[in-house]
């Protein structure tokens, strides 16, 4: 079984604020077969993805695949205040990078 980084499989990998207290991550596929393989690979677990961001699974607000858009979505609580003291990503648009090299085993 070979593994591939998710950046080689998905069309879109992105992060963005969902309101000032959450950051949401989308992974969108343009190929239904690859989407199904990724979904069925079983590696998208709350523990594995939270580990990428150094947070506990209690930070998860949403964690789900969504078939109509061939997409995976995870929403995490922001651990720092948006646009305030110590902000490092006001729009939350550069927090996706650690996801890109997440490895998915494929048949």
């Amino acid at each position: 079984m070979a593994s591939k980084p998710i950046r080689d499989l998905a069309k879109t990998i992105r992060s963005k604020n969902s309101g000032p207290f959450e950051i949401t991550f989308d992974i969108i596929f343009d190929d239904t077969a690859i989407y199904q393989q990724v979904k069925e690979s079983g590696v998208f677990t709350p523990e594995a993805l939270c580990k990428l961001y150094g947070v506990g699974t209690d930070a998860i607000v949403a964690f789900m695949f969504f078939d109509p858009a061939r997409a995976f979505k995870m929403t995490l609580k922001r651990s720092w205040a948006q646009g305030s003291v110590g902000e490092r990503d006001t729009f939350g648009t550069q927090q996706h990078a650690p996801l890109m090299d997440f490895l998915v085993p494929l048949p």
Binding site: E22, D26, R88, T90
Partner: protein
């Protein structure tokens, strides 16, 4: 009316409406132009300091185009979340700009202003009555948060727009304060007997303009009927596809399937997408379920301090290799010099670009040693003078502190700006982001009519 054509000229008013695409939409028979001007995304300073998201000139430019279509083609304009944060002042400011353009061109309009500032006493009373809860992941609201907020608005739902359209069917322009982004779309559609699942889903997509197209665009035309809607970008080089429209329903939302708004929840699990031709998609099947209690989202911002910053670069490999320990020592020295740092009244943050400036403590690549780092020193204190003082000594410590193995003894820090320390004013935070029950969807949003 069998079908309603709604033209959205951009995702945000003032971002620069493309003129040709705009007129293509008007020529296609638009029944209304709807555009929202708001967002919390730029951060709390807009609300906390009463700033607008773009300059007055940018509003003049976009509104000149829209007012020309309104005056010469009789297409009404519904604007929401005036200025960005949607405070009363911004509603009046936009109406002033409209008055200026109308005066210069001899246009006459009937205008409705809908206001969204919320009286703090109303909030205090409802907080005591247990009628306010956090929105999503916000912390619980305290009476202190209410006292300290500079401005508080609530996102109106569809009903204030519906009220105006019923009271004055011939209204040319509505300028609304803070509103749920799809609310003006919903208000218009309510009047025409369209299914709520259809108009809320349509509003959710087109409030971002042609963001749902490939490539991402600006001007979009939605054609809405009782049980479905069609989407068509007005730039011929863009197309809406099933994938691009379905993917957009995820954008900046907590979940892709259930979207809560004022008065209920939009359920997208049964949505159907149909490719009508190369550039148009038809959407149907979404369901809106009214909630037992009607809640509106309150947004409030407060000022938490004043900030001074300094910026520079470090290229010395001996120092770059031990940058974390070096900055820890600078922090420690600063805490000893300035007790307000130690007691939490002030704060010092270093952003180390090239190392973990974007991800901070969650950066997974911790063992990489870059050849150069950029350093942003960020000092926040109760007064600007206090922040300046801490910035002075911190910047000097970064420039001149010794470190183990040092060979370059003249200075540690390459500074591009002169003066090197820059006071940048108040820092805000979102102190209120909560759902409040209302007795009626229109009770908090007064309307004022005028003619120009």
């Amino acid at each position: 009316m069998k079908e309603l054509k709604i033209l959205t000229p951009h995702g945000i008013l003032g971002y620069g409406i493309p003129e040709k695409d705009f007129w293509r939409g008007i020529d296609a028979g638009a029944d209304a132009m709807i555009i929202d001007a708001g967002s919390t995304d730029p951060g709390p300073y807009l609300l906390g300091l009463g700033k607008m998201i773009v300059s007055r000139e940018a509003y003049l430019r976009d509104l000149s185009l829209m007012l020309k279509a309104c005056a010469t083609r009789k297409v009404p304009i519904y604007l929401s979340s005036a200025g960005g944060p949607g405070i009363n002042q911004h509603v009046d400011d936009l109406i002033d700009i409209i008055r200026e353009i109308a005066g210069a061109n001899g246009y006459h309009f009937k205008i409705a202003a809908i206001y969204a500032d919320i009286d703090k006493q109303v909030i205090r009373t409802r907080l005591e009555d247990g009628r306010i809860v956090p929105c999503g992941s916000a912390p619980p609201l305290t009476a202190d948060d209410v006292d300290q907020a500079v401005n508080v608005v609530a996102q109106m739902g569809a009903e204030p727009f519906l009220q105006v359209l019923k009271e004055h069917p011939d209204i040319d322009i509505i300028v609304a304060g803070r509103a749920y982004d799809p609310a003006p779309f919903a208000g218009l559609c309510m009047l025409h007997g369209i299914d709520p699942g259809v108009y809320w889903h349509m509003g959710k997509i087109v409030e971002c303009g042609a963001n749902c197209a490939e490539p991402k665009g600006k001007v979009i035309l939605a054609t809405v009927r009782k049980d479905s809607f069609d989407l068509e970008p007005m730039n011929p080089a863009e197309r809406c596809t099933i994938a691009s429209v379905a993917a957009h329903t995820l954008y900046e939302k907590t979940r892709p399937d259930l979207l809560s708004g004022p008065g209920g929840v939009l359920d997208l699990r049964g949505s159907r997408y149909e490719q009508l031709d190369e550039r148009r998609v038809r959407v149907s099947g979404s369901v809106f379920t009214p909630s037992p209690k009607y809640q509106v989202k309150l947004e409030g911002a407060s000022i938490v301090g004043h900030r001074t910053i300094f910026i520079g670069g470090i290229r010395d490999p001996i120092l770059v290799g031990q940058i974390d320990g070096f900055l820890d020592k600078v922090r420690q020295d600063a805490r000893e010099t300035y007790p307000e740092l130690a007691n939490g009244q002030a704060s010092l943050n270093f952003h180390v670009y090239g190392k973990n400036g974007v991800m901070g403590s969650t950066e997974p690549l911790i063992d990489v040693v870059p050849h150069e780092v950029g350093l942003l020193g960020e000092i926040t204190a109760p007064t600007q003078a206090a922040a300046n003082a801490i910035a002075n000594s911190t910047r000097i410590a970064v420039l001149h502190n010794p470190y183990p193995g040092q060979v370059a003894t003249a200075g540690n820090f390459a500074i591009p700006l002169n003066p090197p320390e820059n006071p940048i004013g108040p820092v805000c935070k979102f102190s209120i982001y909560h759902l409040m029950e209302v007795d009626s969807p229109t009770e908090l949003f007064p309307v004022r009519y005028s003619e120009i």
